[in-house]
Amino acid sequence: MTIVKHELRQGWKNLVIWTGAIGFFMVVCILLFPQMKTQAADMSEAFASMGAFTAAFGMDRLNFGTLIGFYGVECGNVVGIGGGLFAAMIGITALSKEERDHTGEFLLTHPIRRSRVLTEKLTALLLQVLVLNALVFLLSLASMVVIGEDIPWREVGLQHLAFLFMQLELVCVCFGISAFLRRSSVGIGLGLAIGAYFANLLANLSQDLEALKYLTPYGYTEAAEIVTEQCLDTEKIAIGLGFALIGVAAAYIKYTKKDIH
C-alpha cells in the first residue's frame, strides 16, 4: 500500500480544493432554494419559454418549485461538471505525470511489479473519487437540513450514485488513456469530460442523437429521468462500466510493457 499512501499524500491538496469548490457551490445552490421556491411559478414560466435550452437541461420534465426538481438541475450540474472534470483530470495524469515529471525513473527502478504500481495507483484514484463524492453528498444533506426541507432520500441518493458511477467511468477511461501518454495531458482529460457533458446536452436536444446517451457517462446522470423513473438506468450504467473496464485493461496491457523514457 506504499504507492496508495504516496499518491494520496501527493493528491490531497488537489482533492481538498476540488471538494471544497464543488461543496461550496452545492451549499450555495441549496441555500438559495427557499428564495427560489417563492418565485417558482415565474421561473417555470420563464424556463418554458426557453425552448431547446429547457429540454437540453431536462427542465421541461422537472418542477423547479420542488427541492428535488431544483436540486436535479442546479446542483446536478455542479457535481456533474465539477466531479467529471476532477475525475478526468486525476485519471489522465495518474500515469503520464511520472514520465512528464521524470519521476517514473525513480518509481520504476524499485522492485515493484508494474501491475502492482497500476493497481495501487488505480486504488488511490478510486479512493479520491469516493471521498469527494461522500463529502459532497454529506454537505448536500446538511444544507437541506439547514433550509428546513424534507430530504428526498431516494431521489438524492440515486442521483449521487449516478454521479459516482459517471466519475468512476471517466477516471477509469482516462487512466487507460494516461498509459499511452508521455507529456502533460490535462487538456485531453478535461476535453473528454466536457465533450461527454455536451454530448448529453445534444442528445437531449435531438431524437436523432439519442444514441449518444449510451456513449457518454452523463447519459445516466439525467436528473429528470432518475426523478421520474425512481431508479437508475442500469443498461447505460452497464455500458459505462464496460468502458471503464476497457480503460483499466488498456492501462494494464500498455503500461506493463511500455518503455519509460
Binding site: T2, Q10, D101, T103, E105, F106, I112, I260
Partner: protein, 293 residues
C-alpha cells in the same frame, strides 16, 4: 556468475539507433567503467538493464536474472543513480528516503542517516529547495541505503563539488571492497583511471573496446613535444599536430627511426617523447575510425 552479461543486446527507438549487438560482461565485484561520447548509447544500455526499456533483440542478464522476465529481482539487489535525479515535489529528503526504503520493504534508516552525514545532506530540506548537487546526493543515498549487490551509476559526479566527489568515491571503494559490483558510466576519464579496474568504450551504440583500464591505456603512439624547427611533410603516423611559435606537439605512431632521422635534419633545441595520457587514448577511440590503437 557475472554481475552483468549481455548477448547481442539491441535497442532501437523506431528508426533511431540506441544500442546495437552489445556484448558486455561485467564480473561480480568489478569496478567497471562505461565510457563514450554523448549519444553513444550509455543511458540506453543502463535503462535496458534496469527494465525501463524493453530490448528490441538480444538478451541481458543482471545478477543472473533476465531483464525481461525477472525485473523485480534485479531491482531488489541493485542500486541505481540516474544522471538527473528527479524526486516528487513537496517531499522532504527524509520522506523521499523513507519512500524509497518502503518501496523496497526495508528499514534503511540507520544506513541513510550515516550516508547523509558523510555527504552532508540535510534530511529536513524540501526536494524543490535542493541544488542540483544536493539532489544528486539524495540520489546517491537512495541508491546506496539498501546495501545493494550491484551499483549502476550514470554520470554520478556531475554537480558534486571536489570534496564531495572524493567522499563519494571513498564510499564506492569501501562498498566495492565489501563485494559490491560498481558499474560507472561517465564522461570523466580521470574517474575511470583513478577508480576502475576494467572499462568498456561505447561509440555509436557499439562497444569498440573492453579490457582492463591498464590495457586500454596502452598504445604504440607517443606524444612528441619539441622546441625548434621541424618539417613534418612526408612523415606518416602524425596526428593531433599543434604548432605555437617555435614549438610543436603531435601524436606519433609511425616508425621511430624515420622520426629521429627527420628530427636530426631540422634544428631542434629541446625534445620530449612520452606516452600519451589516458584521455588522449580515449579521445582516439571516440574519434571516427579510432578503433585500433
Amino acid at each position: 556468475m557475472d554481475a552483468i552479461r549481455t548477448e547481442n543486446l539491441t535497442k532501437n527507438y523506431g528508426k533511431f539507433r540506441g544500442i546495437t549487438n552489445l556484448n558486455l560482461t561485467v564480473p561480480q565485484g568489478a569496478f567497471f567503467g562505461f565510457i563514450g561520447p554523448n549519444g553513444a548509447g550509455k543511458s540506453t544500455t543502463i535503462r535496458t538493464l534496469l527494465g525501463l526499456l524493453r530490448p528490441t533483440s538480444g538478451q541481458a542478464q543482471v545478477l543472473g536474472f533476465s531483464v525481461t522476465r525477472n525485473r523485480e529481482d534485479i531491482l531488489r539487489w541493485t542500486g541505481y543513480l540516474p544522471s538527473e535525479a528527479v524526486f516528487y515535489p513537496g517531499m522532504r529528503v527524509r520522506e523521499v528516503l523513507k519512500l524509497s526504503a518502503d518501496l523496497r520493504k526495508r528499514d534503511c534508516a540507520k544506513e541513510a542517516k550515516t550516508l547523509c552525514e558523510r555527504l552532508r545532506l540535510d534530511e529536513s530540506r524540501r526536494v524543490e529547495e535542493l541544488s542540483f548537487g544536493n539532489r544528486k546526493k539524495l540520489g546517491i543515498v537512495c541508491a546506496l541505503q539498501h546495501d545493494p549487490e550491484l551499483l549502476i551509476l550514470d554520470e554520478p559526479t556531475s554537480g558534486l563539488d571536489p570534496l564531495m566527489q572524493r567522499e563519494f568515491f571513498e564510499i564506492l571503494k569501501e562498498r566495492n571492497a565489501q563485494g559490491t559490483t560498481v558499474f560507472l558510466s561517465t564522461h570523466v576519464l580521470s574517474e575511470i583511471q583513478r577508480s576502475c579496474t576494467q572499462a568498456a568504450i561505447l561509440r555509436e551504440g557499439r562497444i569498440i573496446a573492453c579490457d582492463s583500464v591498464e590495457n586500454l591505456g596502452k598504445t604504440n603512439a607517443r606524444r612528441v613535444t619539441l622546441q625548434g624547427r621541424f618539417e613534418e611533410a612526408g612523415l606518416s603516423g602524425i596526428r593531433d599536430l599543434t604548432r605555437r611559435d617555435s614549438s610543436a606537439s603531435f601524436l606519433y605512431s609511425g616508425e621511430m627511426k624515420a622520426l629521429l632521422t627527420r628530427l636530426a635534419q631540422g634544428s631542434v633545441q629541446d625534445l620530449t617523447i612520452s606516452e600519451p595520457d589516458l584521455e588522449e587514448v580515449f579521445l582516439h577511440y571516440y574519434s571516427e575510425g579510432g578503433e585500433g590503437k
